[in-house]
Symmetry: C2
Subunit: 448 residues, 2 copies
Amino acid sequence: MTTLSTRPYKGTRDYYPEEKRLQNYIFSVWAQAARQFGYEEYGAPLLEPLDIYTAKSGQELASEQTYVFDDRGGRTVAVRPEMTPSVSRMVAARRQELAMPARLYSIANFMRYERPQRGREREFWQMNVDLFGVSSIEADAEIIELAYTSMKLFGAKDDMFTIRVNDRELINAIMFRYLGCDAVQAELMIKLLDRKHKISTEAFRDQAVDIFGPEQAKEGLPRLASLLGVYKVTELPLEIQQHPAAERLQQLMDKLAQAGVRNVLFDASLMRGLDYYTGTVFEVFDTHPDNNRALFGGGRYDGLVSLFGVEPLPTVGMGLGATTMQNFLEVHKLVPQDISTTDVYLVVIGESALRGAKRLARELRAEGVRVEVDITGRKLDKQLRSALKKHIPYLVFVGEAELQSGHYKIKNTATAQEQVADIARMVSIVLDRRSRRDELDDIIASLT
Amino acid sequence: MTTLSTRPYKGTRDYYPEEKRLQNYIFSVWAQAARQFGYEEYGAPLLEPLDIYTAKSGQELASEQTYVFDDRGGRTVAVRPEMTPSVSRMVAARRQELAMPARLYSIANFMRYERPQRGREREFWQMNVDLFGVSSIEADAEIIELAYTSMKLFGAKDDMFTIRVNDRELINAIMFRYLGCDAVQAELMIKLLDRKHKISTEAFRDQAVDIFGPEQAKEGLPRLASLLGVYKVTELPLEIQQHPAAERLQQLMDKLAQAGVRNVLFDASLMRGLDYYTGTVFEVFDTHPDNNRALFGGGRYDGLVSLFGVEPLPTVGMGLGATTMQNFLEVHKLVPQDISTTDVYLVVIGESALRGAKRLARELRAEGVRVEVDITGRKLDKQLRSALKKHIPYLVFVGEAELQSGHYKIKNTATAQEQVADIARMVSIVLDRRSRRDELDDIIASLT
């Protein structure tokens, strides 16, 4: 018999309990933010026909990054690389029945062929949040306020991140009217701006010259330069400032300021994989020097449901990745202390006490306490070591004498404090800690 | 442009909010049961190298039912069809570091090629629960008690389901010693017994004769008959009753009775896909005439981690399917009333009230209330219809006058009762309902 490898498939991760708890913490904060704004959870299939991705997603995503194969019935299917086509399909399928506006979120896993790098994995988890059916800028403001709220619920302060906004129509106006590009040049220029933080200044300049051509570059380069580093709509060249999309962006920023969201910047050079987007685009950036990158983003993509043969529907959405969020929490020291979901470990003193210990466990469980019983019959030090390794907050010692008296030694593993308590007292000690912990999380979130 | 289909991929489901809430209810009850017993959640990759399935899973599962393909690096990978090989791999990878016994659970999606039928889908969701590192029958008893507890938490009564137990070693003794089978005959006989509820009595008899051959059948058939319908260990033929595995099964049933689990039957004809199992096997059966089938099951499968080159580890586990659980809840009328996760829908009276309505929403959200604001500017009746369609429990009406007075009409959509309330009062009304709802669920669960 050959021995199998214990390593997970390339680019995927095993989540042991400690790592899963951190992932669950991220998921629960996300869900809390989405639900606060009235978004309801949905679920979509893991596999989809490939053509829902080729129809509208970026070409790179559909052709190079997607896990594609033919099923046994000869259908070409993809492991979903993103959620937007699926949720658009679902909304299209119930275009008439669904209550509009539809506010929807999901937390799900996806797969893409990626070269391993920080924050990038082949299997990754995202929350997707979408608001279908509102064409006004109110929708864009709501989604960005939700993004901001999720950051605050994680305990982030305003100076830890910025929200950068731009608009697809404004980008078009800049490309065609201000820079004088044609369609081919515009596409290349957008890609170049997308890469601007990843290449040297010289390379950026050289490539811009290549795109403009030597003649056009004389006028084009200074105009391009005038756009980079513009962080207010009012700093834009006047001819662009008067574009309706610029006015709309200013409205958006005003509405966000009214909602207390003030770390918002206009960024004329913010592009995104633009194949979807038709209006607002935005990204949340980490300001920490060790993690200075986009955390997540989104925008308006009116019309995607129409690929499925129904009337277009104005839509604003965003996708938040769990691994980038985890990196953010780590560099800003916002990762909560790791404690097991189990409340109590019953240390069983002598084989004869096991039956009574199991009865005690049932009584505690009936009161909502989460109890692990050591059923191994091993020595006490081994039982203790196991409980401590698992980060379980309380030990309770159960022997014949304790079972007869109904009083047990309960030990807090963090403080090493011990006391003797009956069942009722143990229940209140344990559940108090759990609710204090929840409350503490709320207080931390509200202070920041 | 061709129009894409809105249908999900064959054998998969879309979960709209109402369906997702029911699925989430099932997940949360499962997690509650697992955590009560001190099990901690883990996560595993969606894709695994195919060979971890072919090494030990049933041949049918690995070869016919698995979604297999070659990735771009030429690796043959499978979309996971089950969790046991993954969790065994994970435990093997940290054989030394993990605190033992390891109590682990996961809730995840899987894919198999299946012919569509009730309770069977190509993409399905399961909770997997495993206890690693305990060789005594205490481990088997704990897993079955956990299975029983999960049923009770759903509100199931003892007469709604039975738990059937058997033992792999006992099956072997019956096949070889009592029925006189050789290895080939035993394998065929196990498969036949597995199918016994799916074929006619005549077909069962004919196939049994085929397996025995005409000579052996004379003695074999009456012996086989004496086993079917045996539901107590003490009803077994004496020569089998004295087998150590029979004694162990009796111990198991005694321990379960001590834990208050009394709807347990020994079933000598209970087989399962046996490739894993080395000891106890069990299944939870629905007793409802419209859904008389196995809901889920598990057993002991000592030694699977050793496929990954480490010391064998005694293990007991089970897998619970969400769709079969949903069918159970439906036929027994245990599905909870569907209510949105959103608490309040803010109906906005007049465009000028929107800014104030959004401020009110922020104030309510800061108190933990989940609020959807109607930002559309449409007529009131359309706003109301949308809120009702979404099953949102409260409407709050916000106009200029309400914003000035700080008093709002709040309407319970289930009872149609209205009252006028300030923010503090609205918060208490809404959060009271949510906690009463949680409490009610607890009471229902404790009564049954």
